[in-house]
């Protein structure tokens, strides 16, 4: 469901797989919260997310509130996941990148 990979001392990539809804929120939330507390920047790779529900969207809003000084970047959204983010109006609230390397580039302080 959640896999983490440290690409540098400052950046942690979190890969989420499957459905992101009320049921999976209990697993995903602590993992990302821990990551945001341990590194200055977390990249959330959503390429494996097949469905995002309202509870999943609310999770990102909650993480955004709790992230403090850490950065949270989202990448590799599938079209239908992006569509949900767009319709909910959440898309402009996050730094969203089409590919992981773009997010990593931005994480290193080079905005694309």
């Amino acid at each position: 469901m959640v896999k983490t990979e440290r690409t540098s001392t400052d950046v942690l990539v979190i890969r989420i797989e499957g459905r992101l809804d009320a049921a999976s929120r209990a697993i995903v939330e602590p993992a990302i919260t821990r990551a945001l507390q341990s590194v200055p920047c977390a990249i959330v790779d959503l390429s494996g997310v097949s469905f995002v529900g309202s509870e999943g969207l609310r999770l990102f809003l909650m993480l955004r509130r709790k992230q403090g000084s850490a950065r949270m970047l989202l990448c590799n959204m599938q079209d239908h996941v992006r569509e949900v983010f767009e319709i909910s109006g959440l898309l402009p609230l996050f730094d969203v990148f089409t590919a992981q390397h773009e997010a990593e580039h931005a994480a290193r302080g080079n905005p694309t």
Binding site: F51, V52, G53, S54, E55, G56, L57, R58, L61, R65, H80, E83, V84, F85, E86, I87, S88, G89, L90, P92, L93
Partner: protein, 568 residues
């Protein structure tokens, strides 16, 4: 009686035929006038049964005998068990009365409605014409234009009795017809058959009273014997229950409990009164027929009294069983969760005495109301087989709670308030209007999104819209909470104008996806337009919450920059 047809001769002349047509059309006209009168009566009485009326009824019916008495009066005036049941159910829904009180009201209503037969059996032509004349003449006065409800009710009552009178007069000549006499003779003295005829005709006409009056008129004309008329009247009463049972099939919870009590009422009355009648007819023991003869010597009036006695038999039998019946019905037809949702949890009538805390409670109730809206979308998400029925029930419970909040705010508005409380009340009323608009839009969206068996593309869009709008609603609920400042800022940011986005999405789907059916295309259009409207309304709602926060000075939970901008 109108003597239009002395047509018992075997040869039918054109004059006889014309008289027969006139009589039959009089029957049809009488029925039409009766139903039009009932419509006028019920619809206009409904206008008088607002909050104050229902509160007064709730105060009056605190004891069971008082509830029965109210039921008798309401039944006698409204002449419609469904109308009284509707008021009872709405009072149950808003928590004004307990189920036991509601059952006592329905019990009394049955006796009340049966009084119509007694009144219609009397010669009240003069009174009827007077009622129609006075109520009708009042329509000519422009000064009375603003208060037409009462004259319309009186006119309705007049029409009901005029219709029944026309019907009664027409039955006499028809009863003389050889074909009818042959038909009635062919049934012999089969009492079970006439009982069944009473049931069937009552269900078909949806008016037990008109069938009872028909039976009385046929007996008066000699086409039916007295005993045959009695059994037909009993059958018509049971038919009323059958109709209620059929109509109550889609109902659930308390509505079903009240309806099933109504079904049980006539069935139990039949179980009591039929054996009594049998004992009296077969054994010659003087019972109900003898009592009716003691009351009056006029046979039509005796029959009308027997109809009232039938209902009183049911009422006396069931009255002591009301608490047990309430428990049994609650077990058999438990209230669905939506019904519990419809009852207010924070506001109550007495809370309006203290406007400031009353407004606090109203705010809590409004938050609870908004928290029910995502449940409409949950139905669209799960797509159960009975999605339309569930959506309708859910929508009804939301509308009931919204109406209770509206009435509470109205009651607060009747108090003498401080200027700040007026401002808060105004803000709460604005919020209430917006919540109603959002609820309507979400219901429309959920209805379009809950259609199953769609094209994959339509399914995908439906899911995206449901989840996206649901997330906004959940944010709105959080924004209404005690520490909702940041969520309120988020709500204001994420809601707003979506016309460009939704147009693009709509056009993309419609242009790109081949194989979309006309239904899919229509639903895509409905869903995108409804979600666009939902976003706009939620943005206005966020503005209303911010305005309210400004009035209350409750800006502490907001981010400093935002709080400063609001203060300025």
């Amino acid at each position: 009686m109108i003597a239009t047809a002395g047509i018992s001769s075997p040869r039918t002349t054109p004059r006889d035929a014309r008289a027969m047509i006139l009589t039959l059309t009089q029957c049809i006209g009488g029925l039409g006038i009766f139903f039009a009168g009932m419509y006028l009566l019920t619809e206009n009485l409904r206008l008088l049964t607002g909050r104050r009326f229902r509160e007064a009824v709730a105060r009056f019916t605190r004891s069971r005998p008082a509830a029965v008495a109210w039921g008798v009066s309401a039944g006698a005036v409204m002449q419609s068990t469904p109308a009284v049941t509707l008021i009872t159910v709405s009072m149950l829904g808003s928590g004004l009365i307990a189920v036991e009180t509601g059952l006592a009201m329905v019990l009394g209503c049955n006796v009340g409605t049966s009084l119509l037969v007694v009144v219609a059996s009397l010669d009240i032509k003069i009174l009827v014409y007077l009622l129609l004349g006075l109520a009708g003449l009042s329509f000519a006065s422009t000064r009375l234009a603003a208060a037409r409800t009462v004259p319309l009710i009186v006119f309705g009552i007049g029409l009901v009795f005029l219709g029944l009178d026309l019907l009664k007069d027409a039955v006499g000549p028809i009863a003389q017809q050889p074909w009818l006499r042959d038909l009635l003779a062919s049934s012999g003295s089969s009492m079970p058959l006439l009982f069944l005829v009473g049931i069937v005709l009552s269900v078909l006409t949806q008016s037990a009273n008109s069938i009872m009056l028909l039976a009385i008129a046929l007996a008066d004309a000699g086409a039916l014997s007295f005993n045959q008329a009695v059994i037909t009247i009993y059958g018509a009463n049971v038919g009323d229950s059958m109709l209620t049972w059929v109509l109550s099939l889609p109902l659930r919870g308390r509505q079903r409990q009240v309806a099933m009590f109504q079904v049980a009422f006539n069935s139990i009355a039949a179980c009591v009164m039929l054996p009594l009648l049998a004992v009296e007819l077969v054994g010659g023991v003087p019972l109900v027929l003898a009592l009716a003869r003691q009351i009056t010597v006029d046979p039509p009036l005796q029959l009308a009294c027997l109809s009232v006695m039938f209902n009183m038999g049911g009422a006396f039998t069931l009255y002591p069983c009301i608490p047990a019946a309430a428990r049994l019905l609650a077990r058999r037809y438990p209230p669905p969760t939506e019904e519990g949702d419809a009852a207010p949890q924070f506001i109550y009538a007495e809370a309006a005495a203290e406007p400031d805390s009353g407004l606090d409670l109203a705010a809590l109730e409004q938050r609870r109301l908004v928290s029910l809206l995502p449940r409409l979308l949950a139905i669209a998400r799960d797509q159960p087989a009975d999605a339309p029925a569930r959506l309708r029930q859910r929508r009804e419970s939301i509308a009931q709670l919204s109406s209770a909040i509206g009435e509470f705010l109205e009651r607060l508005g009747e108090r003498s308030l401080q200027p700040s409380a007026y401002e808060r009340l105004h803000a709460a009323s604005s919020k209430a209007e917006l919540i109603d608009g959002i609820a309507d839009t979400i219901a429309e969206l959920a209805s379009a999104a809950s259609v199953s068996g769609r094209h994959d593309a339509a399914k995908r869009l439906s899911s995206s819209i449901v989840e996206g709008i649901d997330a906004m609603l959940l944010t709105a609920v959080e924004a209404m909470g005690p520490d909702g400042g940041e969520e309120l800022v988020v709500l204001q940011t994420i809601s707003g104008n979506r016309s460009t986005l939704m147009r693009r999405i709509r056009e993309d789907y419609l242009a790109r996806e081949v194989g979309l059916s006309t239904g899919d295309r229509r639903d895509i259009l409905t869903m995108t337009i409804a979600s666009e409207r939902a976003c706009w309304l939620l943005h206005r709602f966020a503005d209303a919450l911010l305005a309210e926060a400004r009035i209350e000075g409750g800006l502490g939970a907001l981010p400093k920059s935002h709080a400063d901008s609001i203060r300025s």
